[in-house]
């Protein structure tokens, strides 16, 4: 509420009450599916289909959570997801950070054109590039039984690199880092250059620490995006041991049945690390979003 609200107290309080009611209603709409996940994750199979719906299960089924790991290889899927999300996040922080520094602080021919080209890729949906990516990874030379021309084997399909490479750098991250780096003063580069620091040291010791708020945003958004990625792992991998969370969730259903309570328990387990990450990084995230002008 604005501090410059000079309306009479009665009108002001009514207005405030209406706003809070609207906010509570909106929160309800957003929270309802999440609450449903929690209820179903703690329900028995019979309660899942009960009518009227059960809001508080009679016997809370804690074992649903352990069953998730017993029925499927969900632990392995979580590990895989953790590996690709972590590696790609580290890659993005480094590569987008370096790219942002180069576009914002270095002068080289074709800088603007290159930046615009990278921005243009934001318009291309990932679904369009998935088949070319698949072919490129299948024909990756000297990997997965391929010869030097990329023939004869399956390349880097069914491996971590096939799931990490597509997310190792993003146009969006480059754009965000460039915008943020542009806001940092130019003369720090000059000061560091005078002080004898080489270009990478200027990036690493001066600008990277100063870009921490923007990097936090990129890191958290990217980690979440890769953690929840379904299409790329689905296309690039086919073996059970390379499954990630999103593809493993499909194991809780077959043609006839869906184990809703276990599926919901698995969903809860899978979002737990993200929730923890957001709680820990909330302060930095808000700062980063504010300075980066990003929508969350």
């Amino acid at each position: 509420m604005s501090n410059l609200d000079y309306a009479p107290p009665a009108i002001r309080q009514t207005r405030r009450a209406l706003i809070y009611m609207a906010l509570i209603a909106l929160s309800g709409i957003i929270l309802a599916p999440f609450l449903m996940i929690v209820v179903l994750a703690l329900s028995s199979p019979a309660e899942v289909f009960a009518w009227p719906p059960v809001l508080i299960p009679d016997n809370i089924q804690w074992q649903n959570f352990s069953d998730v790991f017993r029925v499927t290889n969900f632990g392995r899927a979580m590990f895989n997801t953790f590996v690709i999300a972590t590696v790609s996040t580290i890659g993005i922080v480094l590569i987008d950070g370096l790219a942002g520094y180069a576009f914002a602080k270095m002068r080289f021919p074709g800088r603007t054109t290159m930046f615009l080209l990278i921005l243009a890729t934001l318009m291309v949906p990932v679904h369009v590039t998935i088949i070319p990516l698949f072919i490129m990874f299948r024909n990756f030379p000297l990997a997965g039984g391929n010869d030097i021309f990329g023939n004869g084997g399956f390349g880097i399909l069914n491996s971590y690199p096939s799931m990490v490479l597509p997310f190792l750098a993003t146009a969006y991250g480059t754009y965000l880092m460039t915008s943020f780096m542009r806001m940092l003063p130019d003369n720090l580069v000059e000061a560091a250059r005078m002080d004898g620091a080489h270009e990478f040291a200027i990036f690493w010791k001066i600008y990277l620490p100063l870009a921490a708020p923007a990097l936090t945003v990129i890191a958290m958004f990217n980690f979440t995006a890769v953690w929840n990625e379904f299409l790329v792992p689905l296309v690039m991998t086919s073996t059970a041991d390379m499954k990630v969370i999103q593809t493993a969730l499909a194991d809780f259903s077959d043609q006839e049945t869906v184990l809703w309570n276990l599926l919901m328990a698995a969903v809860l387990i899978s979002i737990l690390p993200l929730v923890l990450m957001f709680i820990v990084g909330q302060k930095h995230l808000v700062r980063g979003v504010a300075v980066g002008g990003t929508k969350g």
Binding site: E190, M194, G196
Partner: protein, 387 residues
């Protein structure tokens, strides 16, 4: 070690053909503090940045000692720079800021600690070494910035308007402080400022720059007493020099300088000497007189007359603005107790010992000074006779 700095026919041309610096030459002796002064866009900062290596040299040479440094990396030139806005690393403590050049040079930790502490002691920063820049006052940030520049014993210390971000009181304190530190460190120093008071008080010599060229280079006294161009006359000195446009007319052995509302007649040997230097018998001139060389009332014929527009008490003296036929004439008087009411008409006289500078239509000094002696006689003496 301290080395000389030399610029030889130095040019800076930007894309589009704009010349920021036009073939300047200077030599700064080892240990000397030289101030580059001039208005915005005169090329002083560009020159400094070319010496620092932050700006590519379009043509000509910069030498540090005997070495041409045109293609030498900024950190290998033996120069260090204090930036206008300090350019401190915001996430590093004062200690780390000062230590950064040494870290980059691969100096050992013990040596870094020893040298940073030594510099911190010299700059009285000892109690603030753990603070980051946002926890330091403007003056302390200034000192940290200076510390970072001197910690690696540069041959040449470059200072780019280092006091302009400080408040007026601190600026005065830091002026003498900077000079003291420069003397103690012994580095050759180039100091860029637009503030002529800084230039006069700090420089062993002053280089006045105008439109990418050196208008004049000399000691503060030389520049103040014998400004080489109208631009120098206007730039150096506060309050600024009074300028009266008019004509110089020769009749027999007498020279008459006059314009709208003012006139001075010169006779005798001085007149003859001056006439010999004038290119014509009747020519356009601009006469420049410093406000402290004028007085309200006096003996002999008045220079001009007019009403007092405003009186500005400056503490130890008062500045009167007198309207002499449409030209505002500044008169600086020591007597603060006697004030002249605004609107009162007063005659403007040259003081005893006053100097009047003459500039031709091209803005260049006509090599000498018109002098008024104690009995009101106005003569002329060439510059060579007293500088």
């Amino acid at each position: 070690m301290t080395l000389a700095v030399e610029a030889r026919d130095l040019w800076k041309t930007y894309a589009g053909g704009m010349h920021a610096v036009k073939g300047i030459n200077f030599r700064i002796e080892p240990g000397e503090l030289v101030v580059l002064v001039g208005g915005s866009g005169c090329g002083k900062t560009t020159t400094l940045r070319m010496v620092a290596g932050l700006e590519r040299i379009s043509d000509g040479q910069v030498l540090v000692g005997d070495r041409v440094v045109n293609d030498v990396h900024p950190s290998k030139r033996g120069v260090s720079l204090v930036f206008q806005n300090f350019a401190l690393y915001p996430h590093k403590s004062a200690f780390k800021n000062i230590a950064f050049p040494l870290e980059s040079a691969g100096v050992s930790r013990d040596e870094i600690r020893r040298r940073v502490n030594e510099v911190a002691e010299m700059l009285e920063l000892g109690a603030h070494l753990d603070k980051t820049p946002d926890g330091l006052s403007g003056g302390q940030q200034q000192r940290v910035s200076l510390g970072r520049a001197i910690v690696r014993d540069p041959d040449v210390l470059l200072l780019d308007e280092p006091l302009s971000n400080l408040d007026a009181r601190l600026r005065v304190v830091m002026r003498s402080e900077l000079k003291r530190i420069q003397r103690r460190v012994g580095s050759t120093a180039i100091y860029v400022t637009h503030d002529q008071v800084e230039a006069m008080t700090m420089g062993d010599r002053i280089v006045v720059m105008d439109a990418g060229q050196i208008a004049q280079m000399g000691t503060p006294a030389q520049v103040y007493l014998t400004p080489a161009t109208l631009y120098v006359a206007q730039t150096i000195g506060s309050p600024a020099m009074n300028l009266f446009t008019g004509r110089a007319s020769v009749a027999a052995d007498k020279l008459s300088l006059s314009g709208q509302g003012w006139a001075i007649n010169i006779s005798g040997d001085g007149a003859r000497a001056l006439i010999a230097r004038l290119p014509g018998a009747d020519m356009s001139i601009t006469a420049g007189i410093r406000p402290e060389d004028l007085d309200l009332g006096g003996v002999g014929a008045a220079l001009g007359m007019g009403p007092c527009v405003t009186a500005e008490p400056l503490g130890s003296e008062t500045l009167y603005n007198i309207d002499v036929s449409g030209v505002t004439c500044r008169v600086l008087r020591r007597e603060t107790s006697v004030s002249m009411p605004e609107g009162q008409t007063a005659p403007v006289h040259l003081r005893s010992g006053a100097r009047l500078h003459l500039f031709g239509a091209d803005g260049l000094r006509i090599g000498g000074t018109v002098l008024r002696d104690s009995i009101g006689h106005v003569g002329w003496a060439p510059d060579e006779s007293f500088v």
